[in-house]
Each structure stands twice: as C-alpha cells, then as structure tokens.
Amino acid sequence: MQISLYRFDPDTDESPRMDSLELDLPEGRDLMVLDVLELLKAEDSSIAYRRSCREGVCGSDGINMNGRNGLACITPVSEAAPRGKLTLRPLPGLPVVRDLVVDMSQFYRQYEKIEPWLVNDTAPPARERLQSPEDREKLNGLYECILCACCSTACPSFWWNPDKFVGPAGLLQAYRFLADSRDTATAERLAALEDPFSVFRCRGIMNCVSVCPKGLNPTRAIGKIRTMLLSQGI
C-alpha cells in the first residue's frame, strides 16, 4: 500500500514534508489506520503520533486521513483510502508539535472556558440527587464526547478564531450542562455565551457533525443554545 505521511521535527526540519512510504499489508484483514501507523513505527521508530485505548474511547489519535478528520484506531484503511493511497496528516488548524502530534492547548482552553462542571447551589442530599429517566435521556448525545478535537479542527470558524470561538466540542459540553436537570447555573452559563464570538461564530457548516467519530451532533446542540439565548432575551 502507498502511504503519504506528514513529517516534521522542529529541531531538524525547517518545514514539514510528505514522505512517500510503501507497506505490505497482511492479507485477509482490514486493518485500522492505527495498525498501519504501528507497522510503520516498528520500521521507523521516529514517527510520532498519540494513541492509547485503540478502541475509539480515549480520543488520543484524532488525525486527518485522506482529507478527513477521524480516529485512526476505528477507521478501517479501506474506508480511509478507498482508492488505495493513504494520506496521513495532523489535525488541521492547530500548531504542529511533531509529525502527527498537534498542540491541543487552544482546544482545551476553549473547553475550560465553558466551565465544564456541574453547578448546583443547593446542599447535596445524603443520597444521590434524583433525576427522571426522561431528564437523563437529554444528556445522551452530549456526555459521550471524548475530546478528540476532530470536530473543532474541522470547523472553519474555529480555524479563524481559535482564541474566541468556543468551537463545536466546547459548545457541545456547554449544552451538556445546560441540559442537565441537576444544574442550576443556566443563567450564568448563557450570559457567558452571549457575545458575538462564543456561540454566534458558528455558521452551520456542519463539518463537526460529519466528522464526529462518536456520531454526536454539535450543530444541533449549538442551535439549542441559541434558542435558549433568544428565549431568554424575549
């Protein structure tokens, strides 16, 4: 198989390059892209990328495969490269540390900005706070985010304003707490999102929805936040 791999080491390279590599894939198994990376690394240990759980839940190995963001560990090679050539690049829009490793700090800062923790200003009961199955159901499609950054780094609005636009991942989590019947900070949360950038920089491009490896829908969550902001304004 033909592989084109993004390489960059800031200590030795003035600019990044794409290396052309050949790899004999074992017969009869549809490998994941991460398997391909591991095979390449066994040959050339200097190739750098993040990986851990290898089952799509830790969110380490978000990369760009043939132009599309996804998790290397749950993307079959046949799906990433239907025409046989696999092109692997780091997630776009974030500074590259080395090879496929990007500097995620801007992404994490946006996540922190929405204060992603439950706020409840009543004293906790001796047991759990009750929540109906219907109210709990509202968190599905939100809490499952793995912070892989595939969505935010596929978002043109985030590329333009990574310092001011919270981005799809952060906003999905903002809505996760707005939607939680146990959270009492709705007004404060909405007030923090009112400015022209935090939420309103979303242009409904929906790249986030099309790349999310967990099948989540940040655009819908952003729409719900906007509706809440509007109804609050009225």
Binding site: R54, E55, P133, I146
Partner: protein, 590 residues
Amino acid sequence: MSRLPTMEFDGVIVGGGGAGMRAGLQLAQSGLKTAVISKVFPTRSHTVSAQGGITCAIGSDDPDDDWRWHMYDTVKGSDYIGDQDAIEYMCSVGPEAVYELEHMGLPFTRTESGRIYQRPFGGQSKDYGKGGQASRTCAAEDRTGHALLHTLYQNNLKAGTTFLNEWFAIDLVLNQDGEVCGLVALEIESGEVVFVKSRATVLATGGAGRIYATTTNALMNTGDGVGMALRAGFPVQDIEMWQFHPTGIHQAGVLVTEGCRGEGGYLVNKDGERFMERYAPTAKDLAGRDVVARSMILEIMDGRGVGEDADHVLLKLDHLGEDTLRKRLPGIIELSKTFAHVDPAREPIPVVPTCHYMMGGVPTNIHGQALTQGVDGADRVVGGLYAIGEVACVSVHGANRLGGNSLLDLVVFGRAAGIHIEEAMRQGIDRRGPGEEDLARATARLERWNGSSSGESVADLKRELQRLMLVNFNVFRSGENMRSSIGELAELRERIARAHLADKSRVFNTARLEALELDNLLEVAEATAIVAEARTESRGAHARNDYTERDDDNWLCHSIYFAPDKRVGKRSVNFTPQTMEPFNPTERSY
C-alpha cells in the same frame, strides 16, 4: 547528568486515571500544593474504557441491600486472599464515594424513581450468597468509566488542580533514609528532564496488561508504577494474579462488558449450548470471571470452540431485543460492529478470555501507604510513598476481582489516600532531599537508553516478551512452561539492557517513551513469572495444571516479591474486619 531543574510540591500523583484524579481532587480541595503528572491528557487514561459500572450497595435496585453482602461476595470472589479490613472499608465507604460522584455530575443511568440504575454483575449475591443474584452495579449506560473519568477531570478543573500533562515518570528518587522524596520525570513535548520533589508521592499508574500480546488494556498500560517500585527496591504483592476477562472480542482483544451477561446475554459453544449451566449451575454466566474464563477454555480444549480454528465461543445478545441493547449497551453495539463486524442485535459476538486486570501490585494499607517488609518480616510503611488503584494491592481483589469493583477501588482509595496525605501534611512532614547520587540512580536507565548506539530494537523485544507471557501465563499455567519462561525472561533482561534506542531526538519522542516502558514491562513480566511458578496451588485466577487444588495450608496468604534479589516471600492475609466477624475460607462454587 548535570544538575536537574527542580519543581517542588507537597504531594505529587503519578497518573491521571480514576484513582489519581480522585486523590488529586481531594488534595486540591485541601489547599495543599499538589500536582497530577500524567503521560497522557487525563481523560485519555484507561479508566475511560471501563464499561459496565461501579459496584456498590446503594440500595437503589433493592432497598434492603447491604454492604456486608457486597463484602461477602468480594471476599469469596477473591478466593479468600483479599484483605478483609480493606474490603470492609471499601464496601462500607463505597456508597458515600458513589454519591459524591453523582453530586459532581456523573450522568448515571436512572430508574423510574429517579435513582441510580444498578445492573446485575458476576459474583454478586444477596444475603451472603443465599438470596440469589444481586443488581448492585451502578451504571452510566455502558460507558461508566468514561463518565466517571470526565466527571473527575471536570471537578479537578473546578478545584484548580495543577496538571503536568504528557509528562512521563522515569523513576522514584529516594533519600539517604530510604524514603521517597519525589521522582524524575520527562516532559514529553520538550524532552526536558526534571526532578519533581515531593513530600508525598502517589503511584496511580494503573495496570500492565501490555505484558500480554492480546489484552483489553490500552497501549499505554505498561506497568510504569510497578517498574518504579521494584527498581527502588520495594516489593509487589500477588503479582501472579492476572484476570482474564471472559469476553474480549476474538482477535481484537477489545473488551465487551460483563454487563452484557448482566442484562441477560449468555455464552454458547459451537453446538449452540449454554455451557455455563454445566460449570456453574446457580450463577451460570454470572459466576466469577476466573470461573467463566476457565470454563470457556475447557470448552475450546474439548473441541467445542467456534470458528475455523475452533478457538473462541460466542456471546449471544440478540434475544434481548434491539431496544434494550440501544438503551443499556449502546457502546457494545458500536464496538462489535467496528471490531467483530457483527451487529449484536442480530448475530452473536465472537469472544475469548483476554488479559484484563492486574490484581497484584504495590502492597498498601487502607490509607494507600505503600508497605514493605522489615528484616523481621513485619509490615513497614515506606516513607513518602503511596499507591492507589490498579497499581496498588490493598488488597481488595485478592486472587480474582469482581466486575464493577475496580471503579469502586479507584474512588474509595484515591479519596482515602488524599485524606491521609492531607492529615499527614497538617501534622508536618519533613524529608531530607536527595543527594547527587540518588538523582543519578533515578536517571540511570534514561541515560542508558540515550547512550545506546546499537542493539536490538524495542519493538522486536517487546513483541517477544508479550508472546512469551501470552503463551505461558494464560488462564491455565504449567510448571514446566513457567520454569522455562523464567530462564527466557532472564535472557530478555540482558538483551533489553543492550537494546538500542535509534531515535535520540528531543521533541515528543515516543520511541524513547516506548523504550522506557519496555523496562517496566520487563519488571512486571519477570515478577509475574517468578511468583506464578512459586505459588504451587490453584487459586482464583492462578490455575495450574500441575497443582490443580487450592492449598490453604500453605498458600492462604499473599505472595510478596522483591526484584533486586528476585526473592518470593509470603505475607499474611487480613482476617480481622473492624465491625464484624470475618468470612472464613470455604469451598468456592457458583
């Protein structure tokens, strides 16, 4: 090495999984100067992969549930070498720790009355084994670990915990009094090596399933804490006890939660027979994991395996209906489709027992303080060192862990260690700093790799080690194979000491990390092999075909292992819970 840059904290936690972050939260809230060091961004820690739930008698499913029943089940599950004071503490404090998680925002699945949903799990009973199957495992769908880990990270953000993310711990630093006064760590992005000085150092580094060629564990579960403890001369306990989870996806090794069987799924052999009815007539598919794993292997060895090589069995879920699967096991649908190419609503999942959990680890008391043995064989607290979670051996799991007890272990003992450190700091601790030689000892293996100029590759040696462990230290073990493996591991040690780190670059050098991890894998593998061969009985997860029976006369005890002289010793099991009579060993059947 020239003088190392130094950072100083009251407490340093190595590892940002469930245990590390629970301890980190406790310490951050106490106002002490603490840091969590993690080789990955914390939400990437392996706790994230835990699926089925956290077992705890909160009485949601059954208002009469009792933590003492949970304790009974855990003691029995441990095949009687779990420490009863520690199990008593875990099961009785558990409800408080679980409610705290809920208050922090953990999105548990709910019952109609709005309480936390609890599902049946293996080895859980009511009324001390006499009242039938208990539903005691608190769940957030089948993503409980993910929900728990993210909730803890979020609350650490709120509490202002200092995180040193993507830092790799190389070795502990001891002072001239033999106390731990911090560690040497490598900042992965910059390649800088730093002495992290600390008055309390907490190992929360998780397991080491990667000593096996197939495992449910993440690629980073390389036993770094065990390696650090052993190299520093501290012992590990019960390290021969490795849990093989009955349902790892055939070939991929990916975990399929026991919750599948809890929700009503069951295993079948090639004849479509529900074979667990023969091996465990009462609990059937929800017997202890060691029991189910052995039964599966026996079926396969008797020629009733499935597939071209008749090397696995099937987990049947389709009778549960698509609706239940979607509601209770959505993650399993995803994983089955991705890694087994089956839709469990229609076809069964091919599964095989797969290395899953390290019951052994650094021995500790219930405050998480690491223990060693004095010359008289009595327990002695290691100054400055704590261990919590999978790297620790409190021991609440003994020879076989029950499903759902690992998440409980993490939060209960992460919290306990935090409370103890807080109290110890308040009373005042002063430790001598290290000398130049002490620091040099802690950086020696990094220097060795950095100075290597030729030799075998890390990838090749790792593959060999993992293969050796998979073949010889699996569900069933033979004395002969174990003895020859010990020789091969001694050779591997010499070869690894001469191996080559080809990439010497500075920035985000993952080849260097894998080399440092290989040192740790070797420590865990060799300890496992030597102690497994020494324990001449079958108990819990340790099943030998040359010593097929449990031997309470000689082995109703912990094993303890010291790496410097490869010495195996024994340590008493605690049979003195504080509030009740102990559970005495009886024959264990399900």
